[in-house]
């Protein structure tokens, strides 16, 4: 068990009475409630926490927040394991298990670190340069790269946790609960506006949690507590702790992930959602997202023990942890001096403050001097010693004119380097809202300029780094946002006083000079996570990748889990320097959501497994299940595929089902067919416009098959439409096309033909449909139906009658998809099961056999009936199908007609529908198999078409297939070759009609 040797005896926002055990890389440690994993590790003296992505260099904790590039951990084990979490954001809980990512076999000894020795031959763009030739070896390179790439490991088991989503509206969303955010929420909340205040941390206060600041002559955190209490008491204010606003989308729609139980670990109450995705539609948004401290780009700046000054300050003040014993500060501005005072007060020895400015002066600086610390102006760190932990630095005098260093290096012993290059406002959400940032040369940072949406920025994210300004801006933004949402007069409350010493702006030295081998900059890390150095940026610029977006893709700067929160501005500033451009002209890369990684689990929410998509079941579904049906998904429908008997294979079941239909009687649940009720004086006109054939002659009581085309002339859907009355039709569509056809007809009626008097009603689920098919179908129906004359003359093929079947009111359609005499009996859905059972009972003497979609497809293929979407694919015209007979020559117009005479459509060498009979009748071709026009020893071979439907035909006792073949209509009798893996199959081109081509049986 480790000892918390770096923990301070008092202070901090941790609960020393509540100690927590955890393991890191298998070793046991303790921390306290209120710790993050990072602060607990530092308390135990653990600084080396990971290895870098490319060179596997040892890395330590850099920051204390969301921007952390180095301290990535794999948390937990098994199904709950989560990769690449930032140790600086993981709240400690009892029993936490974490491990470093990207190192093997251990973080102290990592084989991949050989990459560091090779860094001179692994420059930017190295993948692109090295692995592109010879191209045929790319698959091998790729698998090697994939093995070396990536950080943590994804869990292999399904996520056992539950996630929820909430959709909310609000008047004002405030992102960030630091001083500016709290002030904004107060100002808006007091007007009665609906306010949501979301903050990523476990408590409100933002940066104040890590500072020793003063508001209204008291501790700033006292003001925070009062503000939170006031907000909690307001009815219309919702406080979301642990709520990360991760994305700002169009029309002021924002995503917030609330971590509900992550911080509890195993102590979380079962059944509680782990995280909640809040989808917030805000009238007004106030961004108070703070700022990230900017690292300095100097030689060896990635050594474990080099830390951001504000992070060291937060570890001391908030977590009561000394991150080192002897510190050198390296700074470009005054901000680091307050951090130095805080560390000194905590007992950390200040070895020196190395300041990039020539003569740093001022009250703060004098105070630091007063503590006995040496302040060395006009100097720079040129090297850092210590591989797994900083042991000292070398400094030299800066030569400002030559942008170099002078004199002899001086060595200073230390175990901690705190750097501060200034501040980068967190512009992520602002930029996602399509706001434009501008470079502020005075403060040397990008700040929000024009807003594109109902959004305001306040505080540090707006370039206001003084506490009093943060509060004033927060109050003003909150009041104005509430006013614009319709609440209050926009007058901000008076901001409390927050005294701070004056502080001078930074003097940026974007790339700190060095000497010797290090002068090249290939140990000056810009992007720590992706191991991008100042030398890489310069190389990219030399090679022509001198736009900031190209730089990002070429060097990977700004990619990865941290998306360059610490590195991006340094990278583009160095790019500007190298190319001689202004930083404002270089600009930033596009900021994209999410701000920090968001798990797939919470994005999916409850929409997983059975709840992913609704399953549609027919009225007869329970019978199918009880009788052993194997189901097939057709769109959202569950349809019986086949009904195997005990021990029966699918092939055997399908052959049996087909034989029953051909020889006696089959029964199929056809309820899923799309059905549209069409009424109105212009119903006939609508049919004439959307079908290719003419409908004027269709009498009441008769049915007709129709083909619909897209305006491009391609087959869109097909089905049988029946005339129920003078102005009343019943249209059927394919099962999968029902919604599409209905929407399509509505679109034409509403957008192009509003003058047509016709109404459509989807009645798909109002009717249950049972089809009986086979030579005994009429006999069976006659037993159950006394009020319809079923004789051939009175009830011919393609007509319908109304009556009762088994005592149930029914519409009976004499149509057939099997080529046998068949009746589709439509009854109200609630009677579907009763009808089915009556037919099964009465049909027993004919051996009535339920058949599924597979037998249905075999039977229709034997007849050469197409299935839209199976034999067609959106590039097939009726002419290609050999169905020119259904295209009216008399109608002057219908949807798609004009396209049928476009030159490309009228070509005779288009792929056309044919039948295929293999030379070996036992050979059943796979659907999708390619017909080749020339056989070669290996692919590629010139392709002439493909198989669309292929089955064993029980009726013919051989295989049959349908195919789309170039110029196929003129190739009957030819032999073609189908190329399969390992063999070629020859087949004869035929008519796509294999069984009863004259249709005598179905009219019988």
């Amino acid at each position: 068990m480790g000892v918390q040797r770096q923990r301070l005896a008092e202070g901090g926002r941790i609960d020393r009475g509540h100690s927590l055990d955890f393991t890191f890389n298998g070793k046991r440690y303790t921390g306290y409630a209120g710790d993050t994993l990072a602060s607990a590790l530092l308390a135990n003296g653990v600084m080396l926490v990971g290895r870098s992505f490319k060179f596997h260099r040892p890395r330590g904790i850099l920051s204390a927040g969301a921007e952390e590039p180095n301290a990535l951990v794999q948390l937990g084990a098994g199904a709950r394991s989560e990769p690449n979490l930032r140790a600086t954001q993981v709240e400690l809980f009892d029993g936490l298990e974490a491990a470093s990512v990207n190192c093997w076999p251990s973080v102290r000894f990592d084989i991949g670190a050989i990459g560091d020795r090779l860094s001179r031959i692994l420059p930017a763009g190295f993948y692109y340069k090295t692995f592109m030739w010879p191209a045929r070896l790319w698959p091998r390179y790729e698998s090697l790269i994939r093995g070396a790439a990536g950080l943590g490991r994804a869990p292999e088991a399904a996520d056992p946790d539950r996630y929820e989503k909430r959709h909310v509206h609000c008047d004002v969303l405030v992102a960030g609960g630091g001083p500016a955010g709290l002030a904004a929420a107060l100002a808006a909340g007091r007007t009665g506006a609906r306010v949501i205040l979301a903050d990523e941390q476990n408590e409100f206060g933002g940066a104040l949690l890590g500072l020793r600041a003063t508001i209204k002559r008291g501790r700033a955190l006292g003001w925070v507590a009062d503000a939170v209490a006031e907000l909690a008491a307001l009815d219309e204010v919702r406080l979301l702790k642990r709520g990360m606003v991760f994305g700002y989308y169009d029309h002021d729609y924002l995503g917030v992930v609330e971590r509900v139980t992550d911080h509890l670990g195993p102590a979380a109450e079962p059944g509680t959602p782990r995280q909640i995705l809040w989808k917030v539609r805000a009238k007004q948004v106030v961004l108070a997202t703070g700022a990230h401290e900017r690292p300095l780009v100097f030689a060896d700046n990635d050594r474990p023990g080099v830390m951001l000054a504000s992070a060291a300050q937060a570890y001391v003040n908030r977590y009561a942890v000394k991150p080192g014993e002897r510190v050198v500060f390296f700074t470009a501005h005054d901000g680091a001096y307050q951090a130095a005072l805080d560390l000194a007060d905590a007992g950390v020895r200040i070895a020196a403050v190395v300041d990039l400015r020539p003569g740093p002066e001022g009250r703060l600086i004098n105070k630091v001097r007063g503590r006995g610390a040496e302040v060395i102006g006009g100097h720079a760190i040129v090297a850092v010693h210590g591989a797994r932990r900083v042991s000292g630095v070398e400094i030299m005098r800066l030569d400002y004119t030559a942008n170099g260093v002078l004199g002899a290096p001086r060595r200073i012993r230390c175990d901690l380097v705190c750097m501060s290059g200034g501040w980068n406002p967190a512009l992520h959400l602002f930029s996602q809202s399509r706001g434009k940032p501008r470079f502020d040369p005075e403060q040397a940072c990008f700040v929000p300029a024009e807003s594109a949406r109902a959004v305001r920025s306040a505080g540090a994210c707006n370039g206001a780094f003084r506490l009093a300004d943060c509060l004033a801006q927060g109050f003003a933004a909150g009041a104005a946002a509430a006013r614009d949402a319709g609440f209050g007069d926009g007058e901000p409350p008076a901001a409390p006083k927050a005294p701070e010493p004056e502080s001078a702006p930074p003097r940026p030295v974007w790339r700190v000079p060095s000497i010797g081998a290090k002068a090249r900059g290939n140990k000056h890390f810009v992007d720590f996570q992706n191991d991008v150095t100042a030398a890489d940026v310069a190389l990219a610029a030399r090679e022509g990748y001198d736009s900031v977006e190209h730089l990002k893709r070429y060097t990977t700067a700004g990619m990865g889990t941290d998306q360059g929160k610490t590195g991006n501005v340094n990278a583009l500033a160095i790019l500007a320097q190298v190319t001689g451009a202004e930083i404002s002209d270089v600009g930033t890369t596009t900021f994209r959501p999410p701000y920090t990684p968001v798990g797939f689990g919470v994005l999916a929410g409850r929409c997983i497994g059975k709840l992913w998509e609704p399953a549609r079941l027919t009225a007869i579904h329970q019978w199918h299940r009880a009788n052993g049906a194997v189901f097939e998904d057709v769109g959202q429908w569950k349809r019986p595929w086949y009904y195997p008997r005990e021990g029966e294979s699918m092939d055997a079941a399908v052959r049996r089902e087909c034989a029953a239909v051909r020889t006696s009687l089959g029964i199929v649940d056809a309820s899923t067919l799309g059905k549209i009720d069409i009424q109105g004086p212009d119903a006939l006109e609508l049919l004439n416009r959307v079908y290719t054939n003419a409908w004027d002659t269709l009498e009441i009581g008769r049915c007709r098959y129709g083909l619909m085309l897209g305006e491009d002339g391609m087959v869109f859907d097909d089905g049988v439409t029946s005339r129920l009355g003078k102005n009343h039709y019943h249209m059927t569509t394919t099962t999968g096309g029902a919604a599409r056809v209905f929407a399509w007809l509505e679109e034409w009626l509403q957008t192009e033909w509003p003058s047509l008097k016709v109404y459509l009603t989807s009645v798909t689920t109002q009717w249950a449909v049972v089809a009986v098919a086979g030579p005994n179908a009429r006999r069976l129906l006659a037993e159950l139906c006394r009020d319809i004359d079923l004789s051939r003359a009175a009830f011919p093929f393609m007509s319908w009658r109304e009556g009762t079947v088994a005592g149930i009111p029914a519409r009976v359609f004499r149509v057939s998809f099997s080529g046998e005499v068949a009746y589709e009996i439509n009854v109200q859905s609630s009677h579907g099961l009763a009808l089915w059972q009556a037919l099964m009972a009465a049909g027993a003497k004919y051996g009535v056999t339920p058949y599924g979609t597979e037998a249905m497809h075999v039977l229709r293929a034997e007849k050469g009936y197409i299935v839209v979407g199976h034999d067609t694919d959106g590039s097939v015209t009726p002419l290609d199908l050999g169905m020119g007979w259904i295209v009216s020559a008399k109608k002057r117009d219908f949807i798609g007609r004009r396209s049928l005479i476009r030159p490309g459509i009228a070509r005779s060498d288009r792929k056309q529908l044919v039948g295929l009979l293999t030379e070996d009748p036992r050979e059943v071709l796979p659907e999708g198999a390619q017909i080749v026009s020339e056989v070669r020893p290996e692919p590629p071979m010139p392709m002439a078409g493909h198989v669309t439907s292929s089955y064993w035909s029980p009726a013919l006792g051989r295989s049959i297939a349908m195919a789309l073949l170039q110029g196929g209509l003129a190739r009957r009798g030819e032999t073609v070759t189908i190329s399969l893996a390992g063999k070629n199959v020859r087949a004869e081109v035929t008519e796509p009609r294999f069984y009863d081509p004259e249709g005598e049986r179905l009219r019988g």
Binding site: E746, E747, E752, D893
Partner: protein, 92 residues
């Protein structure tokens, strides 16, 4: 994710709608009269402006009614919503 003002249902989330592409492309009265080029123009050619664009939307998961919107393709600001058959605002 847009917030779209359905003329019949009021402001609703984009996920309830489908976009039907550019608006005000009328189907030719007599396609048989058209040249192949003119027909292809109707069939395939659409404008793709940077800036103000008029397009058809349908409230697919709501009232199922089609209508037009005018949208800035850069800012996604919706500047007008108007019913089918109406002239876009600002056009004489």
């Amino acid at each position: 994710m847009f917030l779209i003002e359905c003329p019949w249902c009021g402001p609703r989330d984009e996920s309830e709608f489908d976009c039907g592409g550019e608006a005000h492309i009328e189907r030719p009265a007599d396609p048989a009269e058209l040249s192949d080029e003119a027909w292809a123009d109707y069939l395939f050619m659409r404008t793709n402006p940077k800036g103000r664009h008029r397009e058809r939307w349908v409230h697919a998961c709501g009232c199922r009614r089609w209508f037009n919107i005018e949208r800035d393709t850069v800012s996604h600001r919706i500047t007008a919503v108007y019913r089918m058959g109406r002239k876009p605002p600002g056009r004489r």
